[in-house]
Symmetry: C2
Subunit: 432 residues, 2 copies
C-alpha cells in the first residue's frame, strides 16, 4: 500500500542532523519511507492525507519503562525511597497476576500511542502478557524478563527467571516481523548474585541477545556495591561478562569517570530517566559528559509508579533543562541532542537501526504534531518548539511501520473502553 | 445567575488543606461559590452542567510572567545568557510597538486560559495593551510597568517609566470590578539606581501599592550587587524601603539565609520559576527552606522566551521533582505544597484573598480536568495525579468569577483565529 502525507512540516534527517522542511511531502511504500521532499512525488497513492498545519517528527522511543506499573500510578507518592518500594510497591507487585500485568501493559500502550511513542523497551514479570498486547496493538517493543537472585547458594541452572527469560526469547524473538524483540535482562547488581549474572551473561552472548540492566541508579546502591565487592556496579557487570553482548544500562546516575570509560569501551548504551531520577531524589546523571565521550544515550520514562506517566515529551523537556540548572550552563543539552536521544538513539539501543529518523529507506515510524494550539505559535525554531513548548497532547497521529495506530484521540487497533474497564477490574483486585 | 456543576470530583479546601470529594456538586451564585458537597443542593439553577468524569480544581495562578514575550518563543534557544539577552531578546524588544505587545499578550491569554490559568501577574512595557486584553478576555491579572534607570545622575522625578507606572495605576487599579489590579514594579537591582528605587518605593507606599521585583535570579547579578554595594540585592531593596509595601520577589535563586530572614520579616512573597531557572542555568532556589520559614511561595512560568510556554502544569511538575533530585530527598515538595503554590499562594501574593481555593464564599475561579485519558488512570491519589501525571491539555474548562472562558478547545470571550492572525502579523513585523 502506498500512502502520501501532504503539505506538512517534516523534521527529516540528513543522517547526522535534523533538517526541517516547512511544507513538504512524505510518501510511504508498505512499511517504509519512500520519499521526502518539497515537491509532490510522482505516481499514484492508495491513501493521501492532507496534513496542513501539522509537523511530522520521528516516532518517539521510550527506551526504559516497566509498562504494567501504570496500575501503580500515584502509589506512595513522596515516601522515602525504601519505604515506597518495600512498604508500597513490592507488596502490590507480589499480588499481581498475569491478568493484572496484561491490564497494566494494555493501559500503558494506550498512553504511549497517544503520546507519539512508536517503540518502547520494557522490563517486567510475565513478559508474555506484554508480548500479547504489543502484538495486537501494532507498536514496537523490546521486552525482557528481569533476572534476579538473592540466594548466594542457588545453582544458576535452577533460576526460574532465567528459564522464563530464555523461553520468552526462544518463542518471541523477532516475532511480528521484528516488531517484537526479546532482550536479556539482569535487574541490577544489588538484586543478583555473581554466579547467576555470569551464567546468564554467557547465555546472552551465546544467543546473540541484547542485555538490559539497571546501573548505579542511587548513591546507596552504588556505594554498597563498592563496599561489598571493592568495585563499582559497572566494573562488577563488566568483569562478569555482562557487557560482552550489546547492552544498555538504565539510569547511570552515580557512574564514575572510570565507569563511563568502561561503558564507552564496551559500547554499552545508557538510558537517561530524568523525571524518575528527580522524583525519587536519585540525582543528576552526567549525561552531557557521556555524550561528549561518544556514549549513546537514549531517554526513558521509567515506570509510571515513579514518574507518574509515560510522557516522553516531559522527559525531553526535563532532559533539556535540568542539566542546565545543575551545571549553570544554558548551552548544554541542546534540543537536537535531546530529540536524538528520544528517537534515533533509542532505536539504536533497541537494535533497530532501520528506524528513529525521517529518512528515505527507514521504517515509517512517525508522530504528527498539531501546530494549531496557541502554545506552539510562533514557530521560529522547530527543534526548540518540540523540545520546550510542545506537550504530548499535541500529538495528533502515531504511525508505526506505515500503519496509523492513533489519530485525533482514537485508537485504531485497541479498544480504549475495554482496556480502561480491564484496568479498573485489575485496580479493584489489587487495592480492594 | 445560579449555576450547578454536578457529579464531579472536587479538590475542595478546608482552608488549611485539600479535601477531595470523589463525586459531588459545586454551586455558584453570581461570581461566588455558594455550595460544595456530596448531596445535590436545594433550589433551582439557571444552568446545570453534568461534569461526570471531570475533576474541579482551583484556578491556577501564574504569579510571574511577561505575557507579550510569547512572540519571542524559541528565540536564541541555548545561547549563553548574556548573548541570548543582549544579542537576541533586547533588539527584538526594542522593535516592539504597542500593537505587537497587544498581539503578544492576547496570544498569551489564549494559551493560559487553555491551561486552566485564571489569573496571572504580568510585568512588561505598554501595560495598557495588556489591560485591554485582560479586560476583554475575562481573566484576572495583576499588571505592572517595570521601572528601570541606568543613569545615576537622572532625577527620579524625570523617570518616564515611573510616570507610566503611576498613570496606569491611577487609571486602571481595581478596574473591571477588581479583576484588574495594577502593581508597582522595580525591574531589578541591577537595572535601577538607588535614588530612583527609593523614590518609587515611597510612591508605592503612599499609593498602597503592591511591589513586584526580580531578585537574585543569577549568581552573577547577586555577586555584582554585593561587590558594588557591599550588600545583597534583598538588603539593598529593604534598605531603600522597597519592601515597606506588600511585595513579591521573583526567582530568589541565590538569596542567602539572611536574605530569607529579610523576606520573612518584611512579609515579602516569593515566586518560584522552575523551568526558567533550569533552562537559563540560573540554579535551584531554596524553596523548601523558604516554605519552612513561613515565606509564602507562589509559582510562575516567567516569559515564554525562557520557558518556552506558559504551562503551569509543567511548572508544578518541575517544582515537585527537581528539588528532590537536587537535595536527594524524595519527601520534600509534596503535591499539596506545590498545588497550593500554584493556586492559593499565588492569589495571596496578588492580594486576592477571595480566591485560590474551592471553598464556599470564595470566587468561582475554577479549572476542570477531563479524567478520561489513559495517563490519568487509575485515580489513586488526586493530588499526585494533578501534580505528576496531568498535562495542561487535560484542562477541559476554565472559569473565572463564575463565567466559563474556555471549554473543550473553544474560547468563549476571545476570537482565537483573529488572535493567531494578529500574532502572525506581529511576527512578520518583528522578524521580517
Amino acid at each position: 500500500m502506498k500512502k502520501l502525507l501532504s503539505n506538512c512540516g517534516i523534521l527529516s534527517s540528513t543522517g547526522d542532523e535534523f533538517n526541517y522542511i516547512e511544507k513538504g511531502y512524505l510518501a510511504i511504500d508498505g512499511k517504509t519511507i519512500s520519499y521526502i521532499g518539497t515537491e509532490r512525488p510522482q505516481g499514484s497513492f492508495d491513501l493521501e492525507k492532507d496534513m496542513t498545519g501539522k509537523m511530522l517528527i520521528p516516532g518517539i522511543v521510550n527506551a526504559h519503562t516497566h509498562s504494567p506499573m501504570c496500575l501503580l500510578r500515584g502509589v506512595g507518592s513522596d515516601l522515602p525511597l525504601q519505604s515506597w518500594l518495600f512498604d508500597k510497591v513490592f507488596p502490590i507487585e507480589d499480588r499481581m497476576t498475569r491478568e493484572d500485568i496484561l491490564a497494566g501493559s494494555q493501559l500503558a500502550i494506550l498512553e504511549m500511542l497517544a503520546c507519539g511513542t512508536t517503540s518502547f523497551t520494557d522490563m517486567y514479570m510475565e513478559p508474555e502478557a506484554t508480548v500479547e498486547t504489543v502484538a495486537r496493538s501494532g507498536i514496537k517493543a523490546n521486552i525482557c524478563r528481569p533476572v534476579q537472585e538473592f540466594d548466594s547458594d542457588e545453582d544458576p541452572a535452577d533460576n526460574y527467571r532465567i528459564r522464563e527469560s530464555l523461553e520468552t526469547f526462544d518463542k518471541y524473538q523477532m516475532s511480528c516481523d521484528g516488531r517484537i524483540r526479546i532482550d536479556f535482562c539482569i535487574h541490577a547488581e544489588y538484586t543478583c548474585t555473581a554466579p547467576v549474572a555470569a551464567h546468564y551473561a554467557r547465555l546472552c552472548s551465546e544467543h546473540g541477545g541484547n542485555m538490559h540492566v539497571h546501573l548505579s541508579e542511587t548513591k546507596k546502591e552504588h556505594q554498597e556495591c563498592v563496599d561489598k565487592y571493592g568495585k563499582t556496579p559497572a566494573k562488577w557487570f563488566a568483569d562478569l561478562g555482562v557487557f560482552d553482548s550489546t547492552a544498555m544500562a538504565a539510569h547511570c546516575v552515580w557512574v564514575t569517570d572510570e565507569d563511563m570509560e568502561i561503558l564507552r569501551d564496551k559500547g554499552v548504551g545508557v538510558v537517561h530517566n530524568p523525571t524518575s531520577n528527580m522524583k525519587l531524589g536519585s540525582g543528576f546523571a552526567p549525561i552531557q559528559k557521556m555524550l561528549d565521550m561518544g556514549i549513546k544515550v537514549a531517554l526513558g520514562t521509567d515506570g509510571a509508579a515513579s514518574n507518574n506517566n509515560l510522557n516522553m515529551f516531559e522527559e525531553m523537556h526535563l532532559a533539556a533543562v535540568i542539566h542546565n540548572g545543575y551545571t549553570g550552563d544554558p548551552t548544554i543539552m541542546k534540543p537536537e541532542t535531546v530529540l536524538r536521544m528520544a528517537t534515533v538513539n533509542g532505536a539504536y539501543l533497541q537494535g533497530r537501526e532501520d528506524t528513529g529518523e525521517l529518512l528515505v529507506g527507514k521504517k515509517a515510524d512517525i508522530a504528527a504534531i498539531d501546530l494549531s494550539s496557541p502554545h506552539l505559535f510562533p514557530l521560529l525554531d522547530p527543534l526548540a518548539l518540540i523540545c520546550y513548548s510542545a506537550q504530548a497532547s499535541d500529538v495528533c497521529m502515531t504511525m508505526v511501520d506505515g500503519q496509523i495506530l492513533y489519530e485525533d484521540g482514537k485508537f485504531l487497533t485497541l479498544d480504549k473502553d475495554k482496556i480502561i474497564a480491564d484496568a479498573a477490574a485489575a485496580v479493584k483486585r489489587l487495592y480492594g
